[in-house]
């Protein structure tokens, strides 16, 4: 599958990585709920490292969509809350 690390690019990784990423994704959710920015960064960094370590980076000119999108690993607690809220706040519209 193709995974995007926001702010970095896209990686082709083995489908087997999905379970590990889901596990870490659940950790990001718990970290935000607990208001623990350090735990949030730890989980996000682990996701980035897992993808970079297990995958092959795709060329910039590649036009395929990703199967998973992982936010930047330095996302603040406030940004994470805004992202999880319904309003889609931190993302500007494309058009």
């Amino acid at each position: 599958m193709i995974v995007r690390l926001m702010g970095e690019g896209q990686w082709q990784v083995d489908d087997g990585l999905k379970a590990r990423l889901d596990e870490l994704d659940a950790e990001t959710e718990r970290a935000v709920e607990a208001g623990d920015e350090e735990a949030l960064h730890t989980a996000l960094r682990a996701m980035h490292e897992a993808v970079r370590g297990a995958g092959e980076k795709l060329d910039h000119a590649h036009l395929a969509a990703s199967d998973a999108v992982i936010p930047p690993d330095d996302l603040s607690l406030d940004e994470a809350r805004a992202m999880l809220a319904a309003g889609e706040e931190p993302f500007p519209d494309l058009a």
């Binding site: 995007r4 926001m6 702010g7 970095e8 690019g9 990423l21 889901d22 870490l24 994704d25 659940a26 950790e27 990001t28 959710e29 935000v32 709920e33 996000l44 996701m47 060329d59 910039h60 000119a61 590649h62 036009l63 395929a64 969509a65 990703s66 998973a68 999108v69 992982i70 936010p71 930047p72 330095d74 996302l75 940004e79 994470a80 992202m83 999880l84 889609e88 931190p90 993302f91 500007p92 519209d93 494309l94 058009a95």
Partner: protein, 248 residues
């Protein structure tokens, strides 16, 4: 509630659907999407320029503080030479507080540099994708039937739309950061102007004045002692040690 990965994917998809819904047929989707890509390229270039400006401003601020640090060092030395340990302590206290400010500026510069780097990478990737999209756009227009084109256009536009959303977030974050820095600088200016915060970098402040007084009074003492010596009054033991204080 889902985690951040699920939400980021959802949001990106929603943004792309919104973009694609604007166009009525495949050809229009291609052209409209291409227009948006060029616009996003301009946005990211502007974002990089803004971050560079903010970085320069921080660097200027820091070099001003470094000058002030060097000046305080000199003042502390001068004060000690004049046997004014109280003033030397005051100068060193200010120095410590300025050093903390320098450290915080360093951290902010680092954060800005990281964001600048991400924007530059995002721009390069977007540039490459826009080129690839432009080529594919012509191929699709020339070679595919309407039904096939629909699928191909959807694929290409979705892939690049995702990157545009990614770059969009990077631009937004950089903008938030530079605005935060501007707001902080404005708040510091306001506090300094209102007197709530001491402006250690202002010229001719209290410490300067006191040190000037010390050197003036020792100059006066020196001249007095010299005059007294000329007039043959210098034999009084208490005045004899003074001329040394001015020079050493």
């Amino acid at each position: 509630m889902a985690g951040l990965m699920s939400r980021a994917s959802e949001i990106t998809q929603a943004k792309i659907s919104k973009l694609l819904d604007r166009a009525e047929n495949p050809e229009e989707t291609l052209d409209y999407s291409y227009e948006q890509q060029l616009e996003q390229l301009q946005n990211v270039k502007r974002g990089i320029a803004d971050v560079t400006t903010a970085k320069k401003r921080l660097e200027l601020e820091e070099s001003g503080l470094q000058q002030q640090l060097a000046k305080l060092d000199g003042q502390a030395k001068e004060a000690l030479q004049a046997n004014r340990e109280d003033l030397a302590r005051e100068a060193l206290t200010r120095k410590a507080s300025l050093q903390a400010q320098v450290q915080s500026l360093d951290q902010q510069e680092e954060q800005l540099a990281a964001q600048e780097q991400k924007l530059i990478q995002g721009e390069q990737a977007l540039q490459a994708k826009v080129e690839a999209f432009r080529t594919q756009k012509e191929v699709i227009k020339a070679q595919y039937s309407a039904a096939q084109a629909q699928v191909k256009v959807g694929e290409a536009a979705t892939g690049i739309g995702e990157h545009m959303a990614d770059v969009g977030l990077a631009i937004q974050r950089a903008k938030d950061k530079t605005e935060q820095l501007q707001a902080r600088a404005a708040a510091v200016d306001e506090l300094t102007a209102s007197g709530a915060l001491e402006d250690y970098t202002a010229q001719g402040d209290d410490l300067d004045r006191q040190l000037a007084q010390v050197s003036q009074s020792s100059q006066v003492d020196d001249e007095l002692a010299q005059l007294k010596a000329e007039l043959g009054q210098g034999s009084g033991g208490d005045q004899g040690a003074l001329p040394e204080g001015g020079e050493k």
